[in-house]
Amino acid sequence: MKILVVDDKQSLSELVSQFLGQSYAVTTMEDGMAALTWMQDGNIPDLIITDLEMPNMDGFELIKKIKESGYFSEIPIIVLSCRDSSADRIQCLKLGADDYLVKPFNPEELLIRVEKLLIRT
């Protein structure tokens, strides 16, 4: 199972990839544009974990672009953000994200949510 982690803060993507790397193949990208370019090259991950605030292309735009494509629309998305307002949550879920986690988060909780989404697909 391949997981794509999109976050501009290296420390966080490294933490997540170290934690999930024990059971999954994790790739990290630093913004939405890089992620989409990488995916368009023929890499289709099984799950995407993304931040919201990023340069070039932010998380909202990334979710929108993923959901409107035919290749990637079925990939489950988890949003990992420090924004905890319900307006942001609602917007993400409306755009098509499957789950929303607020930073700081418990890595074990993330792992369980990842497992659940991967079983469902």
Binding site: Q18, E30, M33, A34, T37, G42, K64, K65, G70, Y71
Partner: protein, 204 residues
């Protein structure tokens, strides 16, 4: 990024799906729509018109499959990569999707299709291809060197810390004795903490 939207998309549709054709024709304010029934006619159309923003092709077209048609296009036009090529299938098939990815087809939609999605997607693919072509965006990979501690710093640290510890040792013994006499329990403070990969270690 260079923005190339706000123009009508000149779209060539290859196939015989009347519902989809109807859908495309309905959104004529965004799409300059052209249709042909099969790949031979498509090649002829391309030779006559030359300019196209995107090709949407049914997976099953008379004579040739959509994937084969894409191959033909690639061998015929060297720069056909810069035009988004989108495949449309009747139902989702994981193997075919993987095959489409492998051949460098830009997207694969399953019916029913939302035209707005396809239009936005084509715009994005066009921008991506133009900007990649001009190398305005490159997939970045930063390499971090390993951190090294210099020899002199290390020896200075050990020497100074060691000698200070030696000098302070008799006083520390006094402190230990005082703690022992004053209160019960351990002299050191410690507690359990969680480290990398959920290993629990004792923290002093």
């Amino acid at each position: 990024m260079e923005i190339v939207s706000d123009k009508k998309i000149r779209l060539l549709y290859v196939g015989e799906n009347e519902t989809l054709v109807h859908q495309f024709q309905q959104s004529s304010e965004k799409i300059d729509f052209h249709r042909v029934d099969n790949s031979l006619l498509a090649l002829k159309w391309l030779e006559e018109h030359l300019i196209v923003d995107a090709i949407v092709c049914e997976k099953q077209i008379p004579g040739q499959s959509g994937i084969e048609f894409h191959k033909t296009l690639q061998s015929k036009y060297s720069h056909s990569d810069s035009v988004p090529f989108i495949l449309v299938a009747a139902e989702r098939n994981a193997n075919e999707l993987a095959e489409a990815v492998e051949h460098g087809i830009d997207d694969y939609y399953v019916q029913p299709i939302a035209i707005d999605n396809i239009v936005d997607r084509i715009q994005f693919l066009k921008e991506l291809k133009i900007n990649l072509h001009k190398a305005k965006i490159t997939p970045a990979h930063t390499v971090y060197g390993e951190y090294k501690i210099g020899f002199w710093k290390r020896s200075f640290d050990i020497l100074v810390a060691g000698s200070v510890l030696l000098v302070a040792a008799p006083f520390l013994l006094l402190v230990i004795a005082a703690i022992r006499l004053e209160s019960k329990g351990k002299v050191y403070y410690f507690s359990k903490r969680v480290g990398t990969g959920y290993k629990i270690f004792v923290y002093y």
